[in-house]
Symmetry: C3
Subunit: 154 residues, 3 copies
């Protein structure tokens, strides 16, 4: 299955980044039993981090693109956690997604769909997950979106 | 025990709604092992969704009523996840509750008690749970409260 | 190992507080299987609770000190949950940290490091954890930081 996932990522034109290690006393992921917890990932893409606030400097579409970068970074971390073998992902269990936004922005779900869609595109039904999507007034380094994940692994 | 729970809900005058399926690539719940993760639920009641912000357009009491609707929707999702048998709930493990509010609102716990109280009323001691209650500047569709849950199931 | 942890706390000059029980229908912790979920803890220290907002009334250093109090309170709750034996902590799995802040504050990670550093100082490598650090416009009782935790326990 690993090859299936890798092939799918390739066909989607996605190259998993080599994520930078946190420069602090926490780690990007912890596996316990068959659960893999991934730290909140920021929307860092090939051209840097997507900064800004939904409802002010970013449209919902731009927010969805940012959420997609968070998802790619979550997958990149999962790959490292699983020794390079994404075939060990049994399913994505849950996402919690925080969207930096103005007080009157209400389209957080549309933004977070950028991540949810990517997971289903990559993992198929195993990518369907429970999730919470909420707004926030501010995220680290001015990021537009932050998403954490729990995977079930083999 | 299923009948006990159903009878209690009935005696409380609560009819579990048939929740709408998410219109996106996520699902309302994921069970893994004996853990059931339920997606963040909004305060949709018989008369629609409770919208607004605590500290501005809603009182703490109205917020607690909204949190209670979130709890009812969490139970409704759990019932579907468990094939209709709420007797399979071993306990509620944890809630994370987000309260849409003004910057100076500080009564998030009082709001979230609307959900916590409902769970104990319905499930007894098995309804006692760990929780986090926080504020946020904005929630999906203008909702006043969003709550996610983890149940332990048999 | 319990004595090791206790000795380390002592050498750091940390006396674990006796946390107040929640005055509501929730509990400070729930253990299920080998997972221990601790409710969101506020930055209550020997001189009361650290209130305020980062970016306005508190510096990042003061925020980190507040996050450290949250961590101490999480450890105090874990000790009670484990019948007094912190040696039963196998590892800290995950933190979710909410930092009350202004809309333009971006140093949430620096604030939350106050908690992450404490955990590693106390538990060594077993204290390294996955985490999410986000901002919020308001927390219960005006708290500056709220942090919840999941531990793996023996």
């Amino acid at each position: 299955m690993s090859n299936v996932i890798e092939t799918r990522l390739e066909s989607m034109g996605i190259t998993l980044p080599v994520p930078a290690a946190p420069v602090a006393n926490y780690v990007p992921f912890v596996a316990t039993g068959d659960m893999l917890f991934i730290s909140g990932q920021l929307p860092i893409g090939p051209e840097g981090m997507v900064k800004g606030r939904l409802g002010a400097t970013l449209t919902a579409e731009e927010g969805a693109a940012a959420a997609r970068f968070c998802a790619i970074n979550l997958i990149a971390q999962a790959k490292i956690a699983l020794g390079g073998d994404l075939g060990r992902v049994k399913r994505l269990v849950k996402l919690v997604a925080f969207v930096a936004c103005t007080d009157d922005f209400t389209e957080q779900p549309k933004v977070v769909n950028g991540a949810s869609d990517l997971f289903v595109e990559v993992f198929g039904d195993a990518g369907r997950h429970a999730r919470s999507a909420v707004g926030t007034n501010a995220l680290p380094l001015g990021a537009a979106v932050e998403i954490e994940a729990i995977f079930e692994i083999a």
